[in-house]
Amino acid sequence: MSGSKGLARQQMADRAAMEFQDGWIVNLGVGIPTLCSNTDIGERDIIYHSENGVIGYGPIAAEGAEDLNLVNAGGQNVTLRPGAAVVHHADSFGVIRGGHIDATVMGAYQVACNGDFANWKLAGQKAVASAGRWTWRPVPNGCLSSWNTSPATARRGWCSAAICR
């Protein structure tokens, strides 16, 4: 994306959401990926899963209409769609590990043009942000698409996004 203007955060999420197919259950990770739940998905039925056990959430809540006990992976207050369900954390990761998810959108620090990406630790750093990210590693038949973020964040060398299946 170097030399071009790049995409805004919501535009990146909208682009990712174009990949979602009718009937998919999609996990959205912290950062840009959570913005996918704001995207108008038209006639498609997409069920968004958040690692904290929320299955079937929708857009980020409007100002003044927030339920402070309902958040997505990034801690933002979201809304529920009809048919939503809530489970505890062990069951939520069972949903992922058990293969009940069709795709995840993950935040990443840095993405290479071959699709390799760094998403839980920076070189030379002892402390780590792990989240659910290791849980995705064993997903079989993985294919990965990725793209750069805006020039402002690309300059800082982190915060791209990837879709994993």
Binding site: E66, F93, A127
Partner: protein
């Protein structure tokens, strides 16, 4: 009869101070919560005031990444009460954010055991369910698995993980009866039910007035009272601490 579980009298205690006063130095304590929802801020605050030291603390994060800052593990570390933290994050998800905890960790002043978030939940679930260890595909092939026992099952490699039993669990629920049956609202649930099962003593802070036993339909109980030992009702703000909308930062 295990611990205080079968007490017939109400499990409600009058104050957060009273609820945590017997916690000894060296205890292992888990805090529920994911972001604001379900986080027992009032019990954590009481633990700060109670002063127990050499604690091992278990939680998803060490806190402090978001504003406004609420009572968190970072504050207990700053207060000199923590020996070790077992959690899914020792750094913030955004590299430009430096957690209060991370400075102490990078300086070697506190230990940390990093556990993938789903493995953390499952280790707690296993502890509560009498399963001493289990195999999981998570973290296989990463530096977290280096030097550890793995096993090939059905042609795939799995990592051995051990149960994580607790001395205390601090949880937050929306509703409770005097027997300790709990209900959570929305994503308040998160780690709270599995932590409650893994602990010798579970202390719940509760949003609504404690109901008489039987007032919650048995089919609608999220965490049975056999796993809950003490209840404290959260007073209105500002005396009590409640979730607030997090402040979005500029990008």
């Amino acid at each position: 009869m295990r611990g205080e579980a079968m007490a017939r009298k109400s499990k409600q205690v009058d104050s957060f101070r009273e609820a945590v006063q017997d916690i000894a130095d060296g205890s292992t304590i888990a805090f529920g919560g994911f972001a604001m929802p379900g986080t027992p801020f009032n019990l954590i605050k009481a633990l700060l005031e109670q002063g127990a030291k050499q604690l091992t603390l278990v939680a998803n994060t060490t806190g402090g990444a978001q504003q406004p800052r609420m009572p968190d593990i970072g504050m207990l570390v700053e207060n000199g009460q923590v020996r070790k933290v077992i959690c899914a994050f020792t750094a913030a998800t955004r590299p430009t954010d430096v957690l209060p905890f991370t400075r102490y960790y990078e300086a070697g002043e506190v230990e940390a055991e990093l556990v993938p978030q789903g493995t953390l939940a499952e280790r707690l679930r296993a502890a509560g369910a009498g399963i001493p260890a289990f195999y999981t595909p998570t973290a296989v092939g990463t530096e977290l698995a280096e030097g550890r026992e793995t096993r090939i099952i059905g042609g795939r490699e799995y990592l051995l993980e051990y149960a994580l039993p607790l001395d205390y669990a601090f949880v937050r629920a929306v509703r409770a009866d005097t027997f300790g049956n709990l209900q959570f609202h929305r994503s308040q649930r998160n780690f709270n039910p599995v932590m409650a099962t893994a602990a010798r003593v579970t202390i719940a802070e509760v949003d609504e007035p404690i109901l008489p036993a039987g007032a919650i339909d048995p089919d609608m109980v999220h965490t049975p009272g056999i796993f809950v030992h003490r209840l404290v009702q959260v007073p209105p703000s500002p005396e009590g601490l409640w979730p607030v909308k997090r402040q979005e930062r500029r990008r």
